[in-house]
């Protein structure tokens, strides 16, 4: 195996990793303990493995680890603390949008990428940004209302 070293910013910290050129970012993250990034389909359809790379939500199962070199990567471990979850996590919890929870970290990150870009998204923007995360438990209804709730909060707070 042709081992190589890459470096990127992970959740705000500069990190170096030895990688196999053929491995995907998902594998790299999980074997380094970032297991909030879930394995779902390995084909870029379900979004359970979503991470944010340079501000955009991507499937870490589709991205080769080396593609992350020099980039800024955020995983679910980079959001929220015990007892004080991120506002998106908070909204999902309050709305009852977390059932099995397997898709939830990916949903949170897709939503974060959206809200960072568009603090008060319209319905079509929500549909577009969230169409890469499959959920089989909720029918998306409560996830939808959580997105609306965060948006409404931004609107009220005149945030960003």
């Amino acid at each position: 195996m042709n081992k190589k070293t890459i470096s990127f910013t992970l959740n705000g910290e500069s990190r170096e990793f030895d990688i196999d050129p053929n491995e995907r970012l998902l594998g790299l993250l999980r074997r380094n303990g970032f297991k909030g990034t879930k394995y779902g389909c390995l084909e870029g359809t379900c979004g359970a493995c979503t991470v944010i790379m340079d501000g955009k939500a991507v499937d870490s199962c589709l991205v080769f680890a080396f593609q992350a070199h020099g980039r800024n990567v955020v995983t679910i471990e980079g959001l929220g603390d015990a007892g004080t979850p991120h506002e998106i996590q908070q909204a999902l919890i309050e709305e009852g949008a977390v059932q099995c929870g397997y898709c939830t970290p990916g949903m949170v990150l897709s939503a974060k990428a959206m809200f960072d870009e568009t603090p008060t998204p319209d319905d079509e923007t929500i549909r577009l940004h969230m169409d890469g995360n499959l959920c089989r438990c909720t029918g998306y209804e409560k996830i939808w209302s959580a997105m609306k709730k965060v948006s409404a909060k931004h609107e009220r707070g005149g945030k960003r």
């Binding site: 050129p21 053929n22 870029g44 979503t50 589709l62 080769f64 020099g70 890469g132």
Partner: protein, 282 residues
Amino acid sequence: MKINDFFLPTKISEAYARLKKEGNSAWLMAGGTSTAFVKSTSPKTAIDLTRLPLRGITRKSDHFRIGACATVCDLMEYKAEGWVLDRVARRFVNQHVRNISTLGGNISRVFYWSDFPVALRALEGTLTMRTSKESKVKISEAFHNMLAHRGAFKDVILEYIDVPRLTKGMGFGYSKETRTSEGFSTATVAVFVKVDKGLISDVRIAAGSVFPFPMRFLKMEEALTGEKAEVGCIRKIDFKDLDRYALTPREGMTLDYCKHLLKVKISDGIAQAVAEATGGSR
């Protein structure tokens, strides 16, 4: 597809030199999403093109110049008068894939469910390639058929895609059929029309998903040219022409229905393009 080494060039000349050096084991890569669909047994050296200065979209007088590494998301979010590729981008797989897939990647590796190749066959335009020197290829030539396409993209780095800026009297129709928003397409049609003094002066109709490679319908285009630019012009098309094409029905469709669906999609695309060209809203 197995990657056993990678190279992260920041200059086009570096990328090209590496491409020459690696020969058949080079794998030009931008977003990398297509690697999931490519079957190859011999290990490849990935040449990551995303660090090259090839990402922007610029508006020129009669066209847009798109860097080959512009992502589908870039195309979706770009806003300018006469820009239509946002409509194609919106129907592209899902947000995560739109965020990393690039226009260059999508048109240099054509899959049967093709999105941009279909749209570009209808819109026409020019590809700027880097070989030992810079060369320009018309889309109609590069996409003439599968063989021409393979030749056009062999041992080159695609730099820019120039597509026409739609002005008054031009219209674009795009219609993609899928079961779910991120599902594979069962029929994709793109239509470009230009209307002059109420008559169709130029028209290009392309379809994908029902073929292994996106096709143009030259006979239909001929039938429409010179006709009045109104929805009724569709009656001038002899859809029996479709019998000449070897359709590949997807997802359990019968050939009969596939043909019917394509006919409806072509009609929808023409209607949309004509409406736009004759002043209907975009």
